[in-house]
C-alpha cells in the first residue's frame, strides 16, 4: 500500500466496530490499546468496551486480560463481540480457544488488513445470522452508524416499505441482537457499498430510478405489495425537483462539481447533478474501491491530493466531508461523507428514498444559489 498524506478514511477495525455496535444486546470489545478504542468511541458515541492492553500484556500474553473483560461483560450482555486490533492479531494467540467458555463472536479485523468497508462487511459476515426461507419480510441493508444520513435513511426505507405494505425484516446494522435469529430472505439497501449478501438483493432505495426498479422487484415477490403509492410519490418528487432545477437554470449556468464520497454515494450525487442541472462533474473521487459507478471514479483517500484537485479544477461545488470543506476555498459545499463537523445536525436527514432525493437536491440548489450570490457581490 503506498503512503498517504493526511488520510481521510478509517481502518477496518473501525468498520467492524461500527457494524457490531449497531446491534443492541451485543457488547463490543476492542481487543487492543486505549488509542485504538478512543477513535471509534468518539466517532460512534456508543458504549464500547476494550481490553485496554498495556505493554506487559503484549510480552506475557493477553489471554488473562481478555478473559477478565469478557467474563465481566458476559454477565450483562447476551453476546460479546471481540474485535482484534493490529498488535494482538500478530501475537499468535488463539482467541476463540481462550474464550471457548463464553458466548462470543470473534472478528479478526486489524487496521492493516484494509479500510472501513472491509471491516464492516467482515464483521457482518461473522454475525450469527439465522436466515429465514420465507419472503414475508424485507431486510434493510446499508445502515452505517458513522454515516450522517444513517437515521434518516433507515426511517425513509421503513416508510417506503410501509407504503408498499411490506413488513421490515432485520436492519443491517441497526437492530437488536435477537433480530439476527430470524433474518428475512429478501433485502433492499440504502447504500449498495455495504450490501451484506444476506437474503436476495431486490435493489436499492438510493436515487429515484433505483427506487422505482426496486419497488417493482418487491412487487414481483409480494403479491400483496402496493406500488401505486410509490409511483405517485416518484412522479411528485421528480416534478418538484425539475421545477426547482429549471428555475435555477433560468438564471445560472450549470455548476461544475467535484464529488468525494464512498462509491455509491458519489454515483448518486453525480447522477442527480447531471440529470437535473446538467452539471459538469469535473472529478469523482471515492474513498473505497470503485466497484460500480455511473461516473468514472478515482479512489482518493489523501486530503493533500483532494486539496490539489480542488485547487486545479476550481469547481463551483464541492461535495464531501468536513475534510473537503476545509480545502474547498470559496466553492459551494455540501456535506455528504462522514465526518461532517463544524455544523449542527439535529434532524434525521435522509439521502435514500424520495425524501433523500428532495433533501439532497434542496441542499445543492441552496448551496449553488448562495455561491452565485456571493459571486455577484464580489
Amino acid at each position: 500500500m503506498p503512503g498517504c498524506l493526511n488520510p481521510v478514511w478509517p481502518c477496518a477495525l473501525t468498520g467492524a466496530v461500527t457494524a457490531l455496535s449497531g446491534f443492541s444486546g451485543i457488547a463490543v470489545v476492542i481487543h487492543g490499546s486505549s488509542g485504538c478504542y478512543f477513535y471509534p468511541a468518539t466517532l460512534l458515541h456508543h458504549d464500547l468496551h476494550s481490553t485496554f492492553l498495556v505493554e506487559q500484556e503484549v510480552i506475557f500474553g493477553t489471554s488473562e486480560r481478555l478473559v477478565e473483560v469478557v467474563k465481566d461483560l458476559s454477565r450483562t450482555y447476551k453476546k460479546v463481540a471481540v474485535v482484534n486490533s493490529c498488535v494482538p492479531s500478530i501475537l499468535g494467540e488463539d482467541i476463540r480457544d481462550i474464550l471457548s467458555d463464553y458466548n462470543i463472536i470473534f472478528i479478526d479485523s486489524p487496521g492493516f488488513t484494509g479500510e472501513f468497508e472491509s471491516g464492516y462487511l467482515s464483521a457482518v459476515k461473522d454475525l450469527p445470522v439465522c436466515m429465514g426461507q420465507g419472503t414475508d419480510r424485507v431486510n434493510i441493508e446499508g445502515i452505517n452508524l458513522i454515516d450522517p444520513f444513517a437515521r434518516g435513511n433507515q426511517r425513509e426505507a421503513e416508510r417506503l416499505l410501509q407504503l408498499m405494505g411490506v413488513p421490515v425484516g432485520t436492519i443491517f446494522c441497526h437492530d437488536s441482537y435477537e433480530s439476527l435469529s430470524s433474518t428475512a430472505g429478501l433485502s433492499v439497501t440504502v447504500n449498495p457499498d455495504l450490501s451484506t449478501g444476506y437474503g436476495q438483493e431486490l435493489g436499492s432505495f438510493l436515487g429515484l430510478s433505483a427506487i422505482k426498479t426496486t419497488a417493482y422487484s418487491i412487487a414481483d415477490r409480494f403479491c400483496k405489495a402496493e406500488t401505486r403509492g410509490i409511483e405517485n410519490e416518484l412522479l411528485m418528487v421528480e416534478e418538484r425537483i425539475t421545477k426547482a432545477a429549471d428555475k435555477y437554470l433560468k438564471r445560472f449556468d450549470p455548476p461544475t462539481a467535484a464529488i468525494f464520497s464512498t462509491c455509491s454515494y458519489s454515483g448518486f450525487a453525480a447522477a442527480i447533478l447531471q440529470q437535473y442541472l446538467d452539471a459538469d462533474i469535473v472529478y469523482c473521487g471515492v474513498r473505497n474501491e470503485p466497484l460500480i459507478s455511473c461516473t468514472p471514479a478515482i479512489k482518493v483517500t489523501s486530503l493533500a491530493i483532494i486539496e490539489s484537485v480542488i485547487r486545479e479544477l476550481a469547481p463551483d461545488l464541492v461535495i464531501g466531508s468536513s475534510f473537503e470543506r476545509s480545502v474547498a476555498g470559496d466553492a459551494a459545499f455540501i456535506g455528504l461523507t462522514p465526518p461532517i463537523r463544524g455544523e449542527f445536525r439535529l434532524s434525521s436527514k435522509p439521502l435514500a428514498g424520495t425524501e433523500g432525493e428532495l433533501s439532497f437536491m434542496e441542499d445543492i440548489l441552496n448551496a449553488c444559489m448562495d455561491y452565485q450570490h456571493r459571486k455577484l457581490v464580489k
Partner: protein
C-alpha cells in the same frame, strides 16, 4: 469492570503516544510527520487534529503522512514502506520531517532509527511506538524533548543577551485543548505586567527555524507539572530555569507573577499589586452571587479542591448539602481570566437553578 493490578506508573486509559507526539510535531507548521504504520493510525489522529483545528478556527492543516503499512509489510517487514514515505515527503522539501513509530511496527521489529539515519535527508525520529512506548503524556514529552534537540547551541551576542533578559518561553501548550489561545493570551498578559514578552511558543504555530530561538529566553514556563522532565532537559541543555505550571487559582496566579519576576531577576511588587487589584475588581462584579448555596463535589484530596474552595470563598458563596453543584471545567481554567470565565459559568448555573 475489574482491572488487573498494574505497576502504578502504567495507565490503561492513557491514550496513544502517537496522539501526544503529533500534538507537538504538528505545531511546527512547515513540518511533515510520518506515522510508520497502517493508514488507519494516521487517519485516527489526523481526524482528531482536524476536528481541533476546526474548533479553534485555525486554517493551517497539519501534514500527517502514513507509510501505509499493509498485511504484506507486517509479514515481510515495513522498513521499505518507511523509506518510500521518507523519500516521497523529502521531495516536497519540508522544514523538517518527523518519524513516529506505531505499536505494530514496534512489535514486528522494524528498525526505524536505522532507516531514518540511512535516509540521506534530515529526519527527526521521535520515540513513540504506539501504546508499546507508553501513553499520550509520554508521547507528548518525548516529542518536546526530541524537537528541542533540533535547537542550535547558544552563542550569546549583545542582541541575544537583550532578548534573554526580556522574554519567556511557553513549553508544552496543550494544542488539542479548546481554549489554548485564551490560555496563551492570559499568560502573555500576566508576564507583560513585568514587561516580559513571549520569545517562543514551544511548539504551537511555529516553524522549524523558530526552534532555534528556544535557548534565548530567560525563563521557561511549562504548561503543567507533568512536563518537569522536559523542563529539566531544557535546563540541562540551555541552562534555562523553569516554572512548572501555568497559573491556576487566585493565590496561584499571584504566586505565578511573583515567581516569574524573581526567576527573571525583576521586582514583583508593582505587577503583584496590579493583578491583586484586577482580581478584586472581577470578584466585585460577581457580588450578586454572595450567600448563594453551593455544593463542591470534588474530593478534598484532588489538587483542584483548594483552588475551587478559595474562589468560592472570595465570591462569598456558602457551602450546603442542598446547594447547587458547581461545574468545574477540565482542564482547570488558567489565570485570572480563566477564573472570570468560570464564574460566568457558575452564575449561569446558579441562575438556572433559581429560575
Amino acid at each position: 469492570m475489574s482491572l488487573n493490578p498494574l505497576p502504578l506508573s502504567i495507565s490503561r486509559t492513557g491514550g496513544c503516544t502517537l496522539t501526544g507526539a503529533l500534538s507537538v510535531t504538528t505545531g511546527i507548521n512547515d513540518s511533515v510527520t510520518i506515522i510508520h504504520g497502517p493508514a488507519g493510525c494516521a487517519h485516527h489522529n489526523f481526524s482528531l487534529l482536524h476536528a481541533t483545528i476546526l474548533d479553534n478556527d485555525c486554517h493551517i492543516i497539519p501534514k500527517v503522512m502514513s507509510s501505509g503499512v499493509s498485511e504484506h509489510d507486517v509479514i515481510f517487514g515495513g522498513e521499505e514502506a518507511l523509506m518510500r514515505a521518507i523519500m516521497e515527503v523529502s521531495s516536497g522539501d519540508p522544514g523538517i520531517i518527523f518519524v513516529l513509530s506505531t505499536c505494530i511496527t514496534e512489535t514486528i521489529g522494524d528498525d526505524v532509527l536505522t532507516v531514518t539515519q540511512n535516509a540521506g535527508v534530515p529526519v527527526c525520529m521521535v520515540p513513540t511506538g504506539g501504546f508499546i512506548g507508553g501513553d499520550f503524556e509520554k508521547g507528548f514529552s518525548s516529542a518536546l524533548i526530541a524537537v528541542s534537540n533540533l535547537a542550535l547551541p547558544v552563542h550569546p551576542t549583545p542582541s541575544c543577551n537583550q532578548q534573554v533578559r526580556g522574554s519567556v518561553n511557553l513549553i508544552g501548550e496543550k494544542n488539542l485543548e479548546y481554549e489554548v489561545e485564551q490560555n496563551f493570551l492570559e499568560v502573555k498578559r500576566l508576564v507583560s505586567l513585568l514587561d516580559l514578552t513571549i520569545n517562543l511558543r514551544f511548539a504551537h504555530n511555529i516553524t522549524r527555524s523558530d526552534i532555534n530561538r528556544l535557548p534565548l529566553a530567560s525563563l521557561n514556563i511549562l504548561r503543567e507539572p507533568a512536563l518537569s522532565g522536559v523542563g529539566d532537559h531544557l535546563q540541562s541543555m540551555f541552562g534555562t530555569p523553569y516554572i512548572s505550571s501555568f497559573p491556576l487559582g487566585i493565590s496561584g496566579t499571584l504566586s505565578f507573577v511573583r515567581n516569574v519576576a524573581v526567576r527573571s531577576g525583576l521586582s514583583p511588587d508593582e505587577a503583584f499589586d496590579s493583578e491583586k487589584e484586577h482580581q478584586e475588581e472581577i470578584f466585585e462584579g460577581f457580588s450578586d452571587l454572595r450567600e448563594a448555596l453551593v455544593r463542591l463535589t470534588i474530593p478534598a484530596e484532588n489538587p483542584e479542591y483548594p483552588l475551587i474552595k478559595e474562589i468560592s470563598r472570595a465570591i462569598g458563596l456558602r457551602e450546603s448539602p442542598d446547594g447547587t453543584v458547581l461545574p468545574v471545567p477540565y482542564p482547570f481554567p488558567v489565570g485570572t481570566s480563566g477564573i472570570k470565565r468560570m464564574l460566568h459559568l457558575w452564575r449561569r448555573t446558579l441562575t438556572c437553578r433559581a429560575a
